[in-house]
Symmetry: D2
Subunit: 317 residues, 4 copies
């Protein structure tokens, strides 16, 4: 048992809250009710509370790792608001999310419709040049828009870091869009993308700029510096993957490992991969502090993330 003698355990026991919901319940009340239940509901409530404490701790550097098709599915504005509201200080994400963010920022759209997931004819979709992401769609013509944009970019330095390049891209994008790239530019939030060349965006960049060699090592060292300097570190991991590991490895040998940690994922620990690893395991590595507050929610991020944002907005007023 962590940080608890067995005696403490018994004294700590309280009644389960057989909570009430009315039409007038608000999100803050709901989360407060769930706090005294169990399973994933409780861990969602705990994550909300931890995130609020992260925000209310001015010295806390909030690392946010984002994997999964979060932009295509409709959470661009949700992530945008995490940035604009000051709920994150460092964003680590996948090249795919940045590609999709760019597409939406340029006026293209991801698509959906009133039909069942699983009922799609992928051969037909291929003929029609419509790419499928489960029950979300992206027409191939989006690539043309990205290509136009990329082919006109005048990249200031072929050896700049990926994060500097992404900052430069953000600056070109429409100011009033929901773009994550633009919001990070506006708020001076660094975006790290360690697997940048694993994306449609980088593919087109590479085709148009054969000499491009964005410096990934510079990003790695800069990330370590940010982690090193953090008096208090807090992390929110959505979906695991490279963003999770990149944040975690940066904190591993720092003076202050994470004091707060939230994880939203559908992956589980038993097969041993990092995406599903418990936050508690990260204590052994020194990535998360022994006295950290942490919570993992096993949930589709499309459900959990909007609820957390909603709670944060509501409870801060």
């Amino acid at each position: 048992m962590i940080s608890m003698t067995n005696r403490d355990f018994k004294e700590n026991l309280k009644k389960i809250n057989q909570f009430d919901i009315t039409k007038d319940t608000d999100i803050e009340e709901l989360i407060n009710s769930l706090k005294d239940t169990g399973f994933n509901a409780k861990r969602l409530a705990l994550a909300c509370e931890i995130y609020k404490e992260m925000i209310n701790t001015p010295s806390c550097v909030k690392f946010f790792g984002l994997a999964g098709a979060i932009i295509p599915v409709g959470l661009q504005k949700v992530i945008h608001d995490f940035i604009i509201e000051g709920y994150l200080d460092v964003l680590v994400t996948t090249g795919a999310n940045l590609t999709h963010d760019l597409a939406e920022a340029l006026g293209y759209h991801h698509l959906q419709g009133d039909f069942h997931s699983g009922d799609f004819d992928d051969e037909y979709l291929h003929q029609e040049e419509i790419n499928r992401i489960y029950d979300v769609f992206m027409p191939n013509k989006v690539y043309e828009g990205i290509e136009d944009f990329i082919s006109n970019l005048e990249i200031p330095d072929t050896q700049m870091s990926v994060s500097s390049f992404l900052n430069f891209v953000g600056k070109q994008l429409p100011k009033n869009s929901y773009s994550v790239l633009r919001a990070c530019y506006d708020k001076e939030i660094p975006i790290f993308c360690p697997a940048f060349t694993d994306s449609g965006l980088a593919m087109q960049l590479g085709f148009y700029n054969q000499k491009l060699n964005l410096n990934h090592f510079k990003d790695m060292l800069e990330m370590v510096n940010i982690a090193w300097d953090a008096k208090v570190a807090g992390i929110c991991i959505v979906g695991g993957g490279v963003p999770k590991n990149f944040i975690m490895q940066s904190l591993q040998f720092c003076p202050n490992s994470a004091a707060y940690a939230i994880q939203i994922t559908m992956d589980r620990p038993e097969p041993g991969g990092l995406s599903g690893a418990t936050l508690r395991e990260a204590i052994s590595w020194g990535k998360i502090n022994e006295s950290a507050k942490y919570s993992t929610i096993i949930s589709d991020a499309t459900i959990a993330l909007p609820l957390i944002l909603w709670y944060l907005k509501k409870s801060r007023n």
Copy 2:
């Protein structure tokens, strides 16, 4: 592609909704926003909409299957409200949920505390006679309370059906409790429990009444009659298991298979078990109608079910 030509597919495509959340958002607005996204968020929204339509269809007989530790974890009042509000007409559940419902109705409590799941010392818990359900606890002394109740029951008929017996039990319970058994008694909602002898409640009944032979076949036939008579059938499955199959098998050879179907589960189809089977598969069996509206949410019910109840209460006013 089901019920859709490829031409229809393209005409049906709409923009993903990059939705907005403010502190003043309400649950109805959130669900409406999620409707035009994808993944589980969309399917949660679709489930909400389908459930509302079920409620607004007076001829619809609403079958509700409940598996998993829903009462211990704190959703007793949520289920109670589904019953009291008229959101279900037939309840099929596990003996475990009924045992836990009885315990709470008799004034006992399930417990939780401010510690991490997974950090428990089960040997210590055993010594202390505290039974663990993930991060929820039930002391053994609850059994004594159930035993007192059971030993004083004067069962009217040793061969009555399980559902008649459960109705009889419900009648003995406090009127103002959150008890599911009592709520069903008050609203004249039948409770079916096909695996009743797989429960602590039945164990104690059996010990005190060696001649008891509650008639499970009578329940089975009564359930088929209800399904047979349903002009419109709607189903909501929480967690799968025997409750799912019992509802499904009753509808299989009926004139009207289910016109509405909702499923909340963490199980998946690939290993072939019924709990994770898609609702679409049930069409092949004739359990769900070809033109049914249906939605499966891959989510912990402790998150999805309160949201659905909240939406239903809010949107009906």
Copy 3:
């Protein structure tokens, strides 16, 4: 840490086995190699070793819980062999598996083919009267065969226990089939089916025998007696569900809780349901002994179960 001081932990550490596979490897060697690795491979190896020890302990009563579509998918002979080889002493299963077992025993067949799972047109299947279980199929005409059989049964006692009835059914079935019902009859192995009325077999029985009231409570008490008398108890749980709980509840208040426990499932602990609960949690309930040897394999049973049987057959010679 259970049963281990931290000092013991360090002394216990050994090198991971970077094991070798050749064309001449046999299953015993493979399992022995996996023993010194990690993740599910290690836990499969541990389960094999535990099962072998259960078999080699003459006083061990081996409870086997079987849920999931194991007979339809092609594991009838595998289960049959567990019975015939003496690898189990008590079988607890679902009505569905018994229905499918009966079908195969009567000469009907489940079907499959050379196509992708997920690519099926369930409306077409319904028109053709072919029921789908993921990528396995059962034509409706199988029901006619079961109906013929059921309608001709002369049930000796309408109030007999379910297990006695299943023994009676087993006796009617062809001796040289792979039938689980027949094999249990031949080996005098009791079959318990707590949710018997949740099955196609019971539906037809009920239609043909309106007065039938098989005694489920008698089964419950008999199961408790077997568990009570077991000097050593071992359990193998495939898929969870009612069979898991029924075995577990029988052991809860016995003098000797389980000394060996194996679990094969795709369910996980986080949503709190019993099917995914860890075996360690069962220690708090007194269902599994504090000093028990146990192992959970997160795997489709269609892969893990044949490997275990293969290992047991090979290593016992």
Copy 4:
């Protein structure tokens, strides 16, 4: 339904194989038996058959994507043999696997022991400087060994591609080890690692070589060239992640998308992430061919991958 009229479907139906296992069964027989069953067993068998066909097709370029803690858990020799036997032509993996491969190649070891997963005291482990990967352990002193190695490397070109650098590293490693890096060097197999800076290996490289700027774009373009030139492409994806996407994106606009595809993962499609996406979805993107043979196994790779290797070695003799 893909590539199949409904008429074809019925003609294609065959009996499920209620297969037999004896102590003399061999892996080829087992897999052949599983071929005519269902669920994941069938898909494992199908994957074996597809892999064999890939190997027997001389023009097939076999892309192998490897994510997850495969080297730490004990599958280094298994992956080594895939390389040495000629079962793969291009390897895409994570920086973590390469870091762990290097550690083992330098004579360090990952550790395990005879205790239960989940029973670890991560605070104690942190004090003892033992890092945990589920139930596998890596002492911090391994990093010192890697540091010695890295600090003595004379990197020929600070702007070389990552794959060239990895080839250079492989050359320095002991010839008779099980090292994946060395085996790829010996067999002239390119290793791509798109998220290389997301690893302990890259961290140390970066600390010792502040001017290092390995060219990730060169890798990306080289990978596209290999995919473009492939007359026949086959892919085997273990665990998803960046390796999966990197292989897939390379094939997207090629003249010949993948004709064979195998996927081993515990991730599922419903949350919309790429790791769990079906192979069929990749047809819409043009990454996999409409007439491709493909199979996804939902299994821990520690179980499935050794079985596949065993089958391939056995069936090729």
